[in-house]
Point group: C2
Chain length 233, copies 2
């Protein structure tokens, strides 16, 4: 039975051998149709990950903000003809913090088998190393940009930290990282702790947990470095 296969890709410039199991490459080479966000980076990622099939024989189906829902409705048709389809993200694992779940949702509704493969998730790597509660945690995506919405979200999440013992995780557009850290350090309760996890899987990796106000002194330079922010008590 043909299926939808979820292929993680490396998070950054790291050697794929640090973040992908050997089995993924084996499965990758049996697959010749891929749903991707951007064809250029997908070609490059396939090559990096050891794809040996001639790339000109590969069918790429683009899934991004320019794709018409009408087209997407047909993306899984080849599965009925016995062809496996691969879904790849731009970085990390697909369907987490990216629009891939449009496709998995459609597959689930059609009763199509889905095979998720193991790969790097900066969210989980950060959580593992934060020292925070890993038995109860939430990933909240991007915080609102306007200060009022941002403050109101932070108040809600701080309640969940203290009442439910739930670690709160989010990300920010990398050029706004420094601003977000300053905002968090200034507005969280002083005994709330912040973990900053930056450049995961890279040699410059930095993962540090401190109390909110401590981050106001000599903060790290996070500008344009992919960073995960975690909050806990």
């Amino acid at each position: 039975m043909a299926k939808l296969i979820l292929f993680p890709v490396p998070i950054g410039a790291e050697d794929p051998d640090t973040s992908l199991p050997p089995y993924n490459r084996e499965v990758l080479n049996t697959c010749h149709i891929f749903i991707v966000e951007n064809i250029r980076t997908a070609r490059r990622n396939l090559k990096r990950m050891g794809y040996t099939h001639p790339i000109d024989d590969v069918t790429f189906l683009e899934l991004n903000e320019h794709t018409s829902p009408l087209d997407i409705g047909h993306y899984l048709d080849p599965i009925a003809q016995g062809h496996d389809i691969g879904l790849m993200s731009e970085a990390g694992i697909p369907c987490v913090a990216d629009p891939g779940n449009l496709i998995t949702d459609m597959a689930q509704q059609s009763g199509i088998d889905i095979l998720p493969l193991v790969g790097p998730s900066s969210i989980l790597l950060a959580l593992m190393a934060s020292g925070f509660n890993g038995q109860n945690f939430a990933f909240n995506g991007y915080p609102p940009i306007d200060p009022q919405g941002r403050l109101s979200l932070i108040r809600t999440l701080e309640q969940r930290i203290h009442r439910d013992n739930q670690t709160q995780i989010f990300i920010e557009a990398p050029y706004r990282n420094d601003k977000l850290l300053h905002f968090l350090a200034s507005h969280l309760l002083p005994d709330t702790r912040i973990c900053v996890a930056c450049d995961l899987t890279l040699p410059t990796q930095y993962i540090r947990t401190r109390h909110a106000r401590q981050w106001l002194t000599a903060p790290p330079q996070l500008h344009k470095h992919p960073t995960i922010f975690l909050l806990y008590k």
Copy 2:
């Protein structure tokens, strides 16, 4: 600088090549002190993962409900003498749904570097394949056993699903899986959907998403099979 290294292990009986990057084995063989939940399974897991160092030279430090906090306070001492320490879970990635964060918390407070390695998380594999929102999700651990507490938790989570668009994830002791599925299918709003993800990474893997009430008809047999439950609208 010596550091604390977080080593994932396979989730179940799968070949480690399906769930661990080659780099992990390389790092594993440089490490001769391990903090583990159970020494017997840790020895078995080291062997499976291709550990070649003589196992009798390895120091194991046990971390479980019998360990005294006084002992734990000294577990990271070898790092000051220049020895890396590995932290392994019983299955899957450490510090997520296990007590490993006692150790990472202590490391963070002492300014010790932590290196989290990539590996299989049944929570993330389930989320990827569920079709549910991966841009906002929460893992809630085990639900309470008493029906009243269980119902009250489910009502809270259902609010977060519909108001915050947040996918809700939990696990159950495997011998209570069938009972939990029946409870969820009966008590959730009819338009709430449940994804059942069972035996992840194994040939018997089963990942299906349906509306709550549909699970009352011909439910799968989950008894003693490791299963992740996910809820969304």
